[in-house]
């Protein structure tokens, strides 16, 4: 553990310190405002340190090598036209189990934004909930996901994933104390433990192959497996086990059964948490392990991801058509979107297996863009549901939303924005996500004789994907229609709290902004995807001189482009 490692983990540490403070202080000082304020402050401070890292490590200004390369690329010396903004360094070498690259940066930023929204949503919980405990646990879950994003080592990765899961069990239990809630908690707990065990079993094969838990060494070992040796089968087995374990978190279809029951049984805030944090964690871990640490397995991996994507999005969307309970409907919607994200993974794995996907529509980038758009719209929807409900009378069925277009125009407008974005209607964030995914699937050109067959699979994937988007319009529009085309049946007070209202507005603004100006997120996602492919290392971080000194990192970032 060196100073550099600690420096890189500062954002996570801020959150853990705040969580501990809230846990301990909450025993002595009851009250919700003060702890909510501290939690929000913690997320903001964490974001501030992350920003410091980002500018210092990835955007070293007045970097002689970067300028030289930029000049060579664009012809004129030192002059970079505003049309071609300078590009960041992709990856920074840090001793220890961390992989500090733009991929982890992207995910951590996303987690902090979503985390802020979650904390805002939690500010006005039911009176019988211990607010400090809830907030502290929430911060821990967020920290877990941030650790997953930068882990370069199986043990740290697993710790990160568990740091998402274990706080989630507590949050589910804290949320509401009814029979349904307890059933949901128990169901989630046992299935989650099982999935962790399956995943660990998969990890153990990787450890057996490499003799190390570091992803870089595993990459060497798995990449060096002799085709004829029987060990290849262990690698494949490991792949399937890891997919099964993480598939639970992504709610891929055979492992999705818990989601509708759990979402329905718990509060809207917890459902929002469940629909974003584990899913993001699972996808990030899959990218890190499968597309990075298991070279040679990509062909199996993309077949697996492709079939899972096809089944998951179709089942999620079709079953969602018949749902009346809003949380259950959103559970199926979240399953379906998990399927869309798997399209990105399939494309990424196929790309890593040697397919020509030079078009710039990268699978990982598409997945990263999509999950950002999805996370904003979904958490926003749940925030709106919280905002409209009351502690004793939460929004349960879709029909409860009737007539809010007239009574609560801004809430209805936000919800409509979320629904259209989830459907993928331009110009909202979801459209650009779908553009990335479908263009990625269409641009796969696999080499060899089986390449054509593979292409047809990906075209089928894209066609099924768009048909699913049309199916999903059926139930998303139903929500919009209920809000605007029907008159209200019950008097909604909309006293779910200003926090939830603020969270909702924040999400809506971001969804619209990303829709109108997708470039920043697109560049971020593309750069993150580029960096995820690098073997790690890159520029060495030297805190004292405030400048990365390794020339090869810059060259790499240019070569990767």
């Amino acid at each position: 553990m060196s100073t550099e490692t600690i420096y890189c983990l500062l954002p996570e540490m801020m959150l853990i310190i705040a969580a501990t403070l809230i846990y301990i202080g909450g025993v002595f000082v009851p009250g919700r405002q003060v702890w909510s304020g501290i939690a929000i402050g913690a997320v903001l401070v964490s974001g501030w340190t992350l920003y410091g890292q980002y500018t210092r490590m990835f955007w070293p200004d007045q970097h002689p090598v970067a300028d030289a390369v930029a000049a060579a690329e664009h012809g004129s010396a030192g002059e970079v036209s505003p049309e071609y903004p300078p590009e960041p360094i992709l990856s920074v070498a840090v001793p220890g189990p961390l992989k500090v690259d733009l991929f982890s940066q992207y995910v951590r930023w996303l987690v902090l934004v979503v985390g802020l929204i979650f904390v805002l949503m939690a500010t006005q919980l039911a009176p019988d909930v211990q607010v400090p405990e809830y907030l502290g646990t929430l911060l821990l879950a967020i920290t877990g996901l941030m650790i997953v994003a930068s882990a370069q080592e199986l043990v740290l990765l697993f710790i990160g994933l568990e740091l998402i899961s274990i706080p989630t069990y507590i949050l589910l239990y804290l949320g509401r104390r009814t029979i349904e809630s307890q059933e949901a908690t128990a169901k989630y707990f046992f299935l989650s433990i099982l999935s962790s065990a399956v995943m660990l079993y998969g990890f153990s094969f990787l450890y057996g192959a490499a003799g190390s838990t570091e992803l870089l060494k595993i990459q060497d070992a798995v990449g060096g497996i002799d085709e004829s040796s029987g060990f290849l089968w262990f690698a494949r087995l490991s792949l399937v086990l890891i997919f099964a374990g993480l598939g639970f978190k992504v709610t891929a279809v055979p492992f999705h059964f818990y989601a509708p029951d759990v979402y329905q049984g718990t509060t809207a805030g917890n459902a929002a948490l469940l629909s974003v944090l584990p899913k993001l964690g699972g996808l990030v871990a899959l990218v890190r392990i499968v597309s990075f640490a298991m070279p040679g397995m990509e062909t199996y991996a993309w077949h697996l991801a492709l079939v899972l994507a096809l089944v998951t999005m179709t089942l999620g969307n079709v079953v969602a058509l018949w749902q009346d309970n809003i949380r259950r409907l959103l559970a199926y919607s979240s399953i379906a979107h998990g399927g869309y994200m798997l399209i990105g993974l399939a494309v990424a794995f196929a790309g890593a297996s040697g397919a020509d996907s030079a078009s710039g529509f990268d699978g990982v980038a598409g997945m990263l863009f999509y999950i950002a758009a999805y996370a904003l719209a979904t958490t926003g929807t749940f925030a709106a549901v919280i905002y409209l409900g009351r502690d004793d009378r939460p929004i349960e069925s879709v029909d409860d939303l009737a007539g809010i277009g007239r009574n609560h125009p801004w809430t209805a407008l936000s919800l409509a924005v979320f629904m259209f974005s989830l459907t993928g209607i331009p110009p909202l964030a979801g459209f650009w996500g779908k553009l990335n995914l479908f263009a990625g699937a269409l641009s796969i050109h696999l080499p060899g004789e089986e390449g054509d067959l593979g292409r047809y699979w990906f075209i089928l994937l894209a066609v099924v994907g768009v048909l699913n988007a049309a199916i999903s319009a059926g139930y998303y529009l139903r929500i919009v229609g209920v809000m605007y085309f029907r008159s209200s049946q019950r008097d909604l007070q909309a006293d779910g709290g200003t926090g939830a209202g603020l969270a909702m507005v924040l999400c809506a603004v971001l969804v619209v902004f990303v829709g109108l100006q997708p470039n920043p997120l697109q560049v971020g996602a593309n750069a993150a995807a580029q960096s995820a492919r690098l073997p790690g290392g890159g520029a060495t971080l030297d805190i004292a001189s405030e400048q990365p000194s390794d020339v090869s990192a810059v060259a790499m970032s240019v070569a990767g482009e």
């Binding site: 710039g360 209607i425 459209f431 650009w432 479908f438 768009v466 059926g474 139903r478 580029q530």
Partner: protein, 567 residues
């Protein structure tokens, strides 16, 4: 100051103003909407004018002989001032992906752009009294729809086109769903899902074109711009068998939008249920986006597949023409009758476009404008009747000409335009496109479908007769004969003829109808620059296909026929 961009964004500014100034009543909202739509119209006309001025010197040499006969030759030479405004800036620029926010007009989009601005003006006036509930929202959505429509036609980039193409669904969904009639919720959802399902496949098709061009094209760049893709594909066309698949993907969306015969079922429902403004814009502009897409993408970028699919498309168009007309004859609801007449008329547009020759394409595109004027006007007039009587049942009316002579006058004009009475715009368009269809069906059809070609062209003409039948019959039943008025809703003594506002809404349409009818050359000439190369390219492909044995289906089917004869 970019006038084109200003015209597209001005309605959004109007929405902001409605939001700032408007209260819960309709008072300020409708005035703001009116002012915005007038200003937008002025800007749009300015842009259109700059194009006409520019197109005059180049188009002078090459004119269609037939179209020439309509023309008045003496155009006053206008001093060429500034070049037409365009806008081009990157929207996404990231690691090889580049989407440009590019706007500009050409001969194909020019008139539809202007017509969109004009019909919104009409719609604001038509909705003046009719919309009372949530009026500020209504006008905001109307202006939002205007931005969407202007954007569709001004887009010069495939992604930008698609963004606006789908975006138009949102405001119209709300317009139908909130202010529509009894069955509005079902109609709105059906309209949205139907169109979306098709247009998403179109999206995949468009992406395939771009990506194919990226991997195999002459330049090898990821280029989303219309001009870039069209240019690259002219050098290095997509293989014929792939073109068919991409054509079908594009067809899925555009055919639903047009709507072509088997996928038209959403249209009568949406039209009947929509408020008057929604019907006017749906018929006048939004359906044309489908035709526009066919010309812009299928004809320009997939010429071989267009040739191969031509007989099928012609067949579907004629099926739509005849079916729409026959069903229109059987309607008892005025609005539904006009809706089915739209199916028939859009069949004419598609017939012309897929005749794939100069006359046909020009006629088809001109007919897009004509139909927007005449059917837009018809929906507006019927909306005015409904406003007065709260009924659309034909059987409940009679002799309205005696009660409301001015309204009857406009109704009759729009009817004459719709059925193609010479001197009005419908005749110019229908004559051109039917000439094109006959040229294709009789003179140019290959052996394999010579008979089908003749049947198609003859049946197409029958559509004109049927059109005259159902429209004139409608006018006769509703406006002539003994006075008969609905007894339930409307209070009879209040019924008054058109006021100045309503006349103002309709007069621009009438002026344009006469203008196009008397001097179609004014409108055809700016189109020629864009449409002639399309027709020429296809003619060249047909020629090369007939010469080579591995050419597109036209040639191949001829040989198949010969083999069959030998057998």
């Amino acid at each position: 100051m970019n006038w084109l961009l200003a015209a597209i964004l001005l309605p959004v500014a109007g929405i902001a103003l409605i939001w700032v100034l408007g209260d819960a009543t309709r008072g300020p909202a409708r005035w703001i909407a009116l002012a915005t739509s007038v200003l937008t119209l002025v800007l749009a006309l300015g842009v259109v004018r700059s194009h006409i001025v520019q197109s005059q010197p180049t188009a002078a040499g090459e004119k269609i002989d037939l179209a020439e006969s309509f023309a008045d030759s003496g155009d006053p030479a206008v001093a060429v001032d500034a070049a037409p405004p365009t806008f081009d800036r990157y929207w996404i620029k990231s690691y090889g992906v580049e989407v440009r926010l590019a706007f500009g007009l050409d001969g194909l989009s020019l008139w539809m752009f202007g017509l969109s601005a004009l019909l919104v003006f009409t719609c604001v006036l038509v909705s003046w009294e009719a919309i009372e509930d949530r009026a500020p929202t209504f006008y905001a959505l109307l202006l939002l729809l205007e931005t969407g429509m202007l954007g569709v036609f001004a887009a010069r980039d495939i992604i930008v086109f698609y963004v606006f193409f789908e975006f138009t669904l949102i405001p119209l969904f709300f317009l139908i769903g909130i202010w529509g009639y009894e069955d509005r919720r079902y109609a709105a959802t059906k309209f949205f899902v139907f169109t979306l399902a098709g247009s998403l496949l179109t999206f995949l098709g468009l992406l395939s074109i771009v990506l194919w061009n990226f991997y195999h094209g002459a330049e090898g760049v990821l280029d989303f711009s219309f001009d870039g893709v069209a240019k690259a594909l002219a050098v290095q066309p997509i293989p014929a068998h792939l073109q068919i698949w991409i054509f079908l993907a594009l067809f899925a969306g555009f055919a639903v939008k047009v709507p072509l015969f088997p996928v038209h079922t959403w249209l009568p429902l949406a039209h009947t249920q929509a408020p008057t403004a929604g019907s006017v814009l749906l018929a006048g502009i939004l359906l044309k986006i489908g035709c526009y897409g066919f010309v812009r993408f299928n004809l320009s970028m997939l010429p071989d597949a267009s040739i191969t699919c031509m007989p099928w498309l012609l067949g579907l168009s004629v099926a739509g023409i005849v079916y729409g007309a026959l069903v229109a004859l059987a309607q008892s609801d005025m609005k539904r009758l006009i809706a089915y007449s739209s199916v028939s008329h859009l069949g004419f547009c598609m017939l012309g476009i897929f005749s794939l020759n100069r006359l046909g394409v020009q006629g088809g595109v001109l007919q897009m404008i004509n139909h927007g004027l005449s059917t837009g006007g018809l929906f507006a007039v019927i909306g005015m009747v409904y406003e007065r009587y709260h009924s659309r049942e034909i059987s409940e009316f009679g002799g309205l000409a005696r009660r409301m002579p001015i309204l009857a006058f406009f109704m009759l004009l729009f009817t004459f335009s719709s059925i193609g009475v010479p001197g009005l715009n419908g005749f110019a368009g229908e004559f051109l496109l039917l000439s094109g269809a006959f040229q294709r069906g009789w003179a140019e059809a290959p052996e394999s479908w010579a008979l089908a070609g003749r049947v198609i062209s003859v049946f197409a003409v029958s559509g004109v007769i049927l059109g005259a039948w159902y429209m004139l019959w409608l006018v006769q039943r509703v406006f002539f004969g003994p006075v008969r008025e609905p007894t339930h809703g409307g209070a009879h003594h209040e019924v008054h003829d058109l006021n100045l506002r309503e006349i103002t809404a309709l007069v621009p349409l009438v002026v344009l109808m006469f203008w196009i009818g008397l001097v179609p050359q004014h409108f055809l000439r700016p189109m020629a620059d864009t449409l002639d190369p399309v027709a020429q390219q296809i003619a060249a492909r047909i020629d090369s296909g007939e010469k080579s044995t591995v050419g597109p289906l036209l040639a191949r089917e001829t040989t198949g026929q010969e083999v069959a004869h030998v057998d």
